[in-house]
Symmetry: none
Subunit: 532 residues, 2 copies
């Protein structure tokens, strides 16, 4: 039977220490719902004592109907010369009215004396008192043993006494925090084992790591192998400095490879979509290469690998992407074979086989374009248009008569460098339009939108969400070819398009036109779906 491991997610507390991350109350609610759906046991949601704004969240959170998760408030041991009942931070913690609380305390003698300026005995009292007080108030107490690994290495006896104080006070979980993130695997194993041998029959022993040595995930697994049954981290691994332990990786490793159960097995298939949702709410890009859940976690580029994977996925995949709700992706590259192009074409036309003449045609065109500097691996939108053009499932939405952009310094107005003008026709209806921008591409984008919107109002929904420029051949410097990738979204879907030219404005124009056309085709398809 699988070994049960409790997961505590700290996206909303330790994770929010990451640079540029800040959540509204509504964001927090959405993340709690996502983590609950995944089946995470504990959600550490904030520090009501140090962050009064969190109080609003805890109030709202009480109304949430969660199926699995328990919301946990976080705080520290009482201050040195004060009773728990007088400590305002502890009072805030209580007023969050959560069934579970996390209390962090010092277990490294140096930190007790040098940072808190308490005697070693005083610090133990603070831990014991605080746990006992909260227990008496009806809370379940998880004790975060800050700096435990450094503390144990400096003074093992004292670090153990600190844990004992928490147990004496009534803590039900001892979470060993690797606060500096510098611990090596063997030390993590040895120190965790020392704790589990002494305490695991009385309380749950947990692990909380940081990634400063690149070992946050590995140290968490090592702790589990040495008796820890509670793991703390952040679903996507962000956090202060190098980040917290990445729970999406840890849960997958433990559940798929180490015979543990962290979340209900049937929920693992939701892992990738939920990670995407959390990234979306956090307003960050989910790392493409993140293990298990990244967009490239099962992406194959080398032609040889692709052939092998098509023959038998076990050849180059450590698990089935579907097990974690992810999917296999084939990246286009010069060395990639014909078999993967067919795979993509068959999405639009099932009747096409390896020997259809159109396949050779598309393969040759892709090769020719790649030679010019195109790269379709990151440009699904443009690739679909290319296939559509080859198989006759395409019609242009407008014709360009001309465009013209200009750039000037001194500026015309503040932050206004560029003007654009263009003339197009849509089925014979001429439209001349203009746009301004802080660069020529921005101005051109505005002009094109202006020109098209009276014919195709949905172009207003298009937002360009990312814009990338790559110079292809540095040798001729400002006369080199450039590759532009544009990522667009209409709020529901997102797609990427590409343009290559020796002129940056022209390369951007090509990608822009593909983006607009791709959107308009998708709109027509959606309308059509309603009638069949």
């Amino acid at each position: 039977m699988a070994k049960k491991i409790e997961i505590l997610d700290s996206t909303l507390r330790d994770g929010s220490q990451g640079e540029g991350i800040s959540y509204s109350v509504q964001d927090k609610i959405h993340i709690v719902q996502a983590l609950d759906e995944l089946g995470i046991k504990y959600i550490e949601a904030g520090n009501p004592g140090s962050n009064p704004k969190d109080m609003e969240f805890f109030q709202k959170a009480r109304e949430l109907k969660l199926s699995t998760s328990k919301i946990v408030a976080f705080g520290s041991t009482r201050r040195k010369d004060i009773a728990c009942s007088e400590d305002s931070n502890l009072q805030s913690l209580l007023s969050a009215e959560t069934e579970y609380v996390v209390i962090f305390g010092k277990t490294w003698d140096f930190q007790a004396t040098e940072i808190l300026h308490a005697t070693l005995e005083e610090n133990l009292d603070m831990i014991r008192d605080t746990c006992a007080y909260l227990k008496k108030q009806g809370r379940n107490v998880i004790f975060d043993a800050e700096h435990f690994f450094t503390g144990y290495s400096a003074n093992a006896d004292y670090a153990m006494k600190a844990l004992q104080a928490a147990v004496d006070g009534g803590a039900s979980v001892l979470s060993l925090c690797e606060t500096k993130g510098g611990c090596m695997l063997d030390d993590c194993a040895r120190i965790t084992r020392a704790v589990t041998e002494r305490f695991a029959d009385k309380v749950t022993v947990g692990i909380h790591t940081h990634n400063d040595s690149g070992l946050a995930v590995a140290n968490s697994l090592v702790a589990v192998q040495n008796g820890a049954t509670h793991v703390q981290g952040v679903l996507l691994g962000f956090g202060e400095r190098t980040g917290n332990a990445n729970l999406s990786t840890i849960i997958s490793d433990l559940q798929l490879k180490m015979d543990c159960e962290c979340i209900p097995p049937e929920n693992l298939k939701s892992l990738t979509p939920i990670c995407k949702r959390v990234a979306e709410i956090t307003n960050i890009t989910l790392e493409l290469g993140m293990p298990y859940v990244g967009q490239n976690a099962f992406a194959h580029k080398a032609g040889m690998h692709i052939d092998a994977v098509l023959k038998n996925p076990v050849a180059y995949e450590h698990i089935s992407p579907e097990d974690v709700g992810n999917e296999r992706v084939f990246l286009m590259s010069e060395v990639a074979g014909r078999s993967m192009i067919i795979e993509k074409i068959r999405k639009f036309d099932f009747s096409i086989t390896k020997s259809s003449p159109v396949v050779a045609e598309i393969v040759n065109e892709v090769k020719e374009l790649e030679h010019q500097g195109y790269q379709f691996e990151g440009a699904d939108g443009s690739f679909e248009l290319l296939v559509r053009k080859a198989i006759g499932k395409y019609q242009p939405f407008f014709n360009l008569h001309y465009y013209k952009t200009s750039n000037e310094k001194p500026l015309m107005e503040e932050n206004l460098y560029s003007l654009a003008q263009l003339k197009i026709d849509v089925e014979g209806n001429i439209q001349v339009a203009a746009g301004e921008g802080n660069g020529p591409v921005n101005a051109l984008d505005n002009a094109l939108r202006q020109a098209l919107q009276s014919f195709y109002p949905s172009v207003r929904q298009i937002h360009l969400t990312d814009y990338k420029v790559r110079v292809l051949d540095g040798k001729s410097a400002t006369a080199s070819r450039v590759r532009v990738l544009i990522e667009s979204s209409d709020g529901t879907d997102s797609w990427t398009t590409i343009g290559v030219s020796s002129d940056l404005v022209e390369a951007s124009w090509l990608a822009l036109v593909d983006s607009f056309e791709y959107k308009l085709i998708k709109d027509i398809e959606k309308k059509y779906q309603r009638f069949i």
Copy 2:
């Protein structure tokens, strides 16, 4: 005494399998130089058999004067029914004329029979023959045992026979490849130990891991603990799927915490600047949270942490950031940042010390510019100009009255998209000039050259050798800020300059002006040298 570990960096081979990564020959040369400076023993630089473009690189690489690194070409065992001397891939490999070669071969029985369609015996022959043939041609052979860990688990006896075949053929390194990236720590330890127990007295045993389970770094360390003395990876950890083992983390862990020597100890201080340079050449953003070398790796947020760190850095830091050439973010100007800046200033003015007010001034300006998106690691030319401006050793060579560029489609002539016009004065002498180009920056470059050459004829020697564009904030897409880096050469020296703006043309203009001014200052310095 520290245990010696050989490092093989595969940024240019396995790393280039990462999505969106592609190197020009010039990029490859620059990366080789950076890795050599760091003291990396082997640089795996390409696969001449599968990628004919790599041949140009290997030819050029022969002329490089490297102080430490050996350039290594990569290829596979001979094909099934063919002699080594007839195998075109092996012939390409030989024609790269490197002292060392990496040969990968199958060690998993399934891959031999199902992917290569060879018998188990045939596959062993292919490995033995290929190693022996290359050895006879005077190459040192590193054998990459593909899928070794999966292979050993499926059929340990056969996997070991494959290694024995490589040793019999004369391979001097057996590199155990964890190709699927799914291996858990204990398996990695056990299997590596089985190999080192049998082979480590005859040949060097190495490790090559991928990050599919988030354990690439940990597995590399575990292998070293179990007798491996050769580690393969990619300096910044990118690569296919979830990436290769991150060498910047591994080198730091091994060298600072596990008493190993991977690179000369005095070079570790260059690790962060070299990682930044490699990221810049690759045209990617160095992950902020990357262990040891990321910009946030030693970022302290809370005032309490800052106070504690100021009292005693050991309170919240696992190592000294300076050990790896990184810096504390809140102290950036106080420690490494400031001393590096002083070092640079003293090139122009020996009288300047740490406490000179101009140092604080420059530090503040650098901070402000970095906040805007400037990055001076890769822009020595612009940095020198900034320092010169601050210490009063600068005078402008011209004043801009205006510039104006325009872009048109349909084209005026073939490949002519852009026109530029500008007006400058040189000490009151007005010059109006025009330029054409295949893009607005190219046109502007030509116009400026035109305008300056009658005053400063040596501007004709300037060639722009590289041009890079990075979009800094993808979220606002075509309205985002862009950073332009221009590399210039006059045939003798080369220098890099930078510009940042919300307008691409303006960002390019700023970098262009710095490039021209830098060259003109150098010319004056050289003339002056002749008279002293």
